[in-house]
Subunit: 236 residues, 2 copies
Amino acid sequence: MVRKQAIEVIGINEIPEFWNVLTEDQKAYLQANITLQHYKKNELIHKEGGEPTHMMILVRGKVKIYKSGVGGRSQIMRMLKPYEYFGYRAIFAHGNFHGYNTNARAFESCSIYKIPATVITDLLQQNAKLAFSFVQRLAADLGASDARMVNLTQKHIRGRLAETLLFLKESYGLEADGATINIYLAREDIANLSNMNTSNAIRTLSTFATEGIIAVDGRKIKIIDEERLHKISRLG
Amino acid sequence: MVRKQAIEVIGINEIPEFWNVLTEDQKAYLQANITLQHYKKNELIHKEGGEPTHMMILVRGKVKIYKSGVGGRSQIMRMLKPYEYFGYRAIFAHGNFHGYNTNARAFESCSIYKIPATVITDLLQQNAKLAFSFVQRLAADLGASDARMVNLTQKHIRGRLAETLLFLKESYGLEADGATINIYLAREDIANLSNMNTSNAIRTLSTFATEGIIAVDGRKIKIIDEERLHKISRLG
DNA sequence: TAAAAAAAATGTTTTTCAGCATACTTTATA
DNA sequence: TATAAAGTATGCTGAAAAACATTTTTTTTA
């Protein structure tokens, strides 16, 4: 069983951004220090406020990155899919924002490569190409974060929910039917992605369904009229 | 007059992060390509949606970085002070978030060093130490952006305004009296920093003044009871 | 499979905040 | 300096969304 899992997940050398730019020595160094770890559904991977020990690469499953805000109310910052990496921001920031600012939780059963903080820091300082690829990644993340800020603060509930549904579609894609979003989230998670409370997520999803924009079957959400979702998202 | 301005501003070699890690060749390359430009009060420095041509280092004056959101409503993302640099995120991000996502405007008369995008990209790819310092900077920026997200989305008006006042104090410091925040902003800018409309910024500032938390004299804001501001900010 | 727990649905109430109108004050400009 | 324009102050109203309560449905677990 352990063997089977090991076969299921991809190797680190299949992630070109990490692998191709390294020298032979650096590859050996990375191989010697990387570990694969499994997390059960809903298991906490890292905790807000904690000291970052590893950078992680998700290779199987889905992860949510979220912050606990006012009165413990949680705000999902990002949702990850395989081949995406995380936990590196906390390692590299110095000053106020060193350390995990977020919680990471396995949304379903996950396999994750873990690279010790010291190892990834060494590699970045030795290898300008690798460092540059992290610059590119962080620059894109920051752009996304700023864009999301305006979405969440300025749009009304319908606009925020439409945005979230489109985001989920972009991130996780559609099932074989070409319409059902390929992730099943609790209404509460949809709410936490959209900066609203659960009641309003439920209510607004129902309204969208009534209006024929989506079809809802339990946690399955089918996008019927994507154009309208875009329109609702644009108008706020 | 031109001579005088040139003397007033610091040299690029006084910014260690840029200078100390460069080789002699790289220093020469940078020196040969860097230019100093002056902007008048309220002048636009770069525009949302535009192609990034330069990375910039503010050496005199204050700059606001803002996004135009739903219905043109503007949201100030950051406020800069001398020695801070900007415009680099747009250069390095690839994919969706390449290009300026924000506007930058001289909040008062400014002097700015401009490094062509190609030059800074060359330097980063050649110099792992420089690239790593950008990784650190971007990681901190992203942490700040995520923290701000929760502030702006979850806190109530009083909490958001308190947060903004404390942020301004941290960023720009206090005047000789040890209480007056060393930046004079229009109520509209305070509102755009705090995700609220101008009326509510005015109203809430008045309330804070009535409660003896701050004292307001035109655009001068004096912090009387910082502890209460922290408390209001924490509670949302 | 039954019982318990969690999640979803829905209606009602309350709070927060945006939008607007108006008056007053300060700043810019002819 | 007069006039216009911009910015500030304040009250009122209504829309949006949170909070709460209750019922129904689904999922988990014993």
